[in-house]
Symmetry: C2
Subunit: 475 residues, 2 copies
């Protein structure tokens, strides 16, 4: 692969944060400093504000030209009105790219502000400087130690993200990171007055570090080019798309957010279908699909065995699974007989779902049962679940979580005969929240796919299965 | 209203827990003792186990006949095989009703066990003793201090519940209680060998303490009578129904759980439509509907104003609302102008949803903005939201939560010009979980309806609006 034109954006040799607030109390502009510090950005980093002074022991230069070294990349936090002037100063300093976090441009819908954005783009073009934004968070690239949030992981992963919204990109990275997902490059590109979704999609399609591309798009500037870029991207990578603004109210919000044109839902649905793109309708759904793609081995079929506690829960989760394209087949009598040998009949329903309520203190029994069930040819997937809220006391929840997970954590994906998934419902009950969180973290550390509910698990697994089936037909 | 035949079940003068385990380590049979202790059951309570001894300082009688006083009501925790014999002993002692928690009857699918259940029912009928269960948790009635879980609230409320599943009834009560919902009577009735869903529904339809009836039904024994009971119940009360076992796998789980026949989904949907019953497909959805019925004033229309932070969030939540039957209309220019007078343009999008991101530290501004917006004739509902995961650091989330909620908590439903709802997304990030939990609890203490996501809020509000519209057409 030849080096893409935008490759330099991801490897700046130096950065200046221009317009970072010098006020003594914490201010949102510090986010970028905190992000770069936390990810251990190891090249020169300069702070610039006309007021000068110091921020956390770092010198604040009063102007860009006072900065002693070269500057590759500027993060612009200045007022919208002086943004075009900053571009000119950057040109004099030899800056190659500016990411404008600054808002207050075309997204306001006000004529004067729309003009200001055009002016910004025009100056940049004239001076040969590339712009990301305005009204965006810019680049997170753990490999080259770029970040816009101190809450992002330091490790890299295979997921590339292009997001028109900064907030949605943060939400995606932080929530997905809790589930074990890691990223190659995440770009929040906002109003896209210069670098747009097409440039970035073409870049990620050719980026060797990116295996899966997740898109949050509010609107596009050039439909034909976008379609071509998607075709390119889907050739060798899995693409997931979340289209914001599919309703009238959503489309109005898009206009006020990044000033893009939203486009009809039908058009977008058709595009995804044609190109084999996984279409999702929320960030949560996007994360569930990412978790499935990354941590659940490719399933050979749709038959699932569900293992946990609770007769009533069993009924509802079987419904959740079967109403979302998966199957919960009955366990054959000879397998039931093997388990029944060491499992009491009352309170332990050996159907599918398996309700192991009263044997929960019997870790050895759970392990033996897992072992027998995992050798059953009739299933393609085993799902272990914990629903703490159904127990009469938190003491029972605790015991269950501990025993079930003691039995299942040693099982690493790949060492177990069947693909394994976990449904661990977070609890907001103070006395249980911690136990279930520990369980979630433990399962993720074992590289298991963790879902927060049966409905979301079944939905994501079904989406990925549909995608795989479509792809296999394609070739 | 004349006294219903089953009224006595909810007012036992004394209770015996028969078969409570005397083992020194905690055992699930203690749940009932803990439940009754926690809710301060204030009439005689006896423990019975052939081994005798003591449990937590209470004498354990070796047999029922040794108990010195009268016994009204027995909670049976004995082995299934001796259940019929316990009924006979109860008859000698003058017991009027037995709730059998004991499992291992028809739900096992084994012939011998099905026969055992018939025998149990037969002995009870002969001896004139009513049975709840077997394979159930029995009665929670805070007013008469009956409970089967120490985790249930002590206060009463207007919601009556009939649940074929014990676990699902516990899940419902515990999770709904966190949202401010309180209950009149909750009955987990299991295999229903004697008292069944029809008896209980007829009872709740005539119970003055119950205004809303929530049903979890796996299968019914007498379709015609059930329909009549539902017709009666829907006359003066709102009925919500969750039908378990609507898929093949779910129906198989029903057979293994309470041995009931599930019935087709189409039949149940048609029934709900005809009778004006709110049909839901999960316990979470049932809780969202309960919260809406109890804490959201009757809306006059479908226009919502959404207020919070995040441009990308704005787009997605507008989509979530509009794709679920609600409207997010644009704010008229004159109202925007009033707010703009004191609100900076950059980072604060005064459309609908309102993105107040950068003014989040300005509590006074938030209050003034609320005030202006609440007088806008074009909306029927205001929704305040917090999505903590979208911020770059937990510090921002904290500030937002604190400022937004400081501004909104003093607003009690009814004192504010418009119906108010809160969408507060629980966080599983350890550094934020506590702040958002505090916010949730604060909002609930202010008797506001709290939802955990925009999708679930819009869905429940839409279901209740549909129901109200149908009812108004009916009269």
């Amino acid at each position: 692969m030849r080096q893409h034109d935008l490759e330099f954006l991801f490897h700046p040799n130096s950065i200046a944060l221009v317009g970072i607030t010098t006020a003594t109390t914490w201010h949102w502009t510090r986010t970028f400093l905190e992000g770069l510090t936390e990810i251990e950005f190891d090249r020169p980093l300069y702070l610039v504000n006309p007021k000068g002074g110091e921020i956390e022991g770092r010198k604040v230069y009063t102007s860009l030209k006072d900065v002693p070294g070269n500057i590759d990349y500027v993060i612009g936090l200045v007022n919208a009105h002086i943004a075009p002037k900053l571009v000119e100063e950057c040109a004099e300093k030899g800056v190659r790219a500016i990411q404008f976090c600054t808002a207050g441009f075309s997204e306001t819908g006000e004529e004067e502000r729309i003009k200001l954005e055009s002016e910004l783009a025009e100056v940049a073009r004239r001076k040969g400087i590339r712009i990301i934004g305005p009204n965006c968070m810019g680049i997170y690239c753990p490999q080259s130690r770029l970040s816009f949030s101190p809450a992002f992981p330091k490790e890299s992963g295979p997921v590339g993200v292009i997001s028109q919204s900064g907030g949605n990109s943060i939400y995606l990275v932080r929530q997905a990171a809790l589930r074990g997902v890691r990223f190659s490059k995440v770009i929040s590109y906002g109003n896209a007055c210069d670098i747009n979704e097409n440039d970035l999609l073409e870049y990620l399609a050719n980026d060797a570090d990116t295996k899966i591309i997740a898109l949050y798009i509010e609107g596009i500037k050039d439909g034909k080019r976008f379609r071509r870029a998607l075709e390119e991207a889907t050739k060798e990578k899995t693409v997931i798309l979340l289209k914001g603004g599919t309703t009238e109210g959503g489309a109005r919000a898009v206009a006020g957010h990044t000033a893009a044109l939203a486009g009809s839902k039908a058009t977008w649905d058709a595009l995804c279908k044609q190109l084999g793109i996984i279409s999702v309708s929320s960030i949560e759904e996007m994360i569930d699909v990412l978790v499935t793609l990354l941590f659940l081995p490719l399933l050979r079929g749709r038959n699932a065995l569900l293992f946990g506690a609770g007769g009533g829960a069993s009924v509802l989760i079987a419904d959740e699974f079967e109403s979302r394209g998966l199957e919960v087949p009955p366990i054959p009598p000879d397998i039931v007989a093997q388990i029944r040998e060491f499992t009491p009949i009352a309170g332990n329903i050996l159907r599918n779902p398996v309700d192991y309520s009263q044997a929960m203190t019997n870790t050895e029994g759970i392990i033996k049962t897992f072992d027998i069930l995992s050798r059953w040819e009739g299933i393609d997937l085993m799902v272990i679940f914990v629903r703490t809220g159904q127990f009469t006391t938190s003491r029972i929840s605790d015991t269950w979580v501990r025993n079930l997970l003691m039995s299942s954590f040693p099982i690493k994906q790949g060492f177990f005969p069947k693909p394994l998934a976990m449904v661990l419902e977070p609890s907001i009950m103070p006395e249980e929240a911690e136990a279930i969180l520990t369980a979630i973290r433990g399962a993720i550390a074992s590289e298991l796919p963790v879902y927060y509910s049966f409905a979301t698990a079944a939905n994501a697994i079904n989406l990925v299965l549909n995608h795989t089936e479509r792809q296999s037909k394609k070739f």
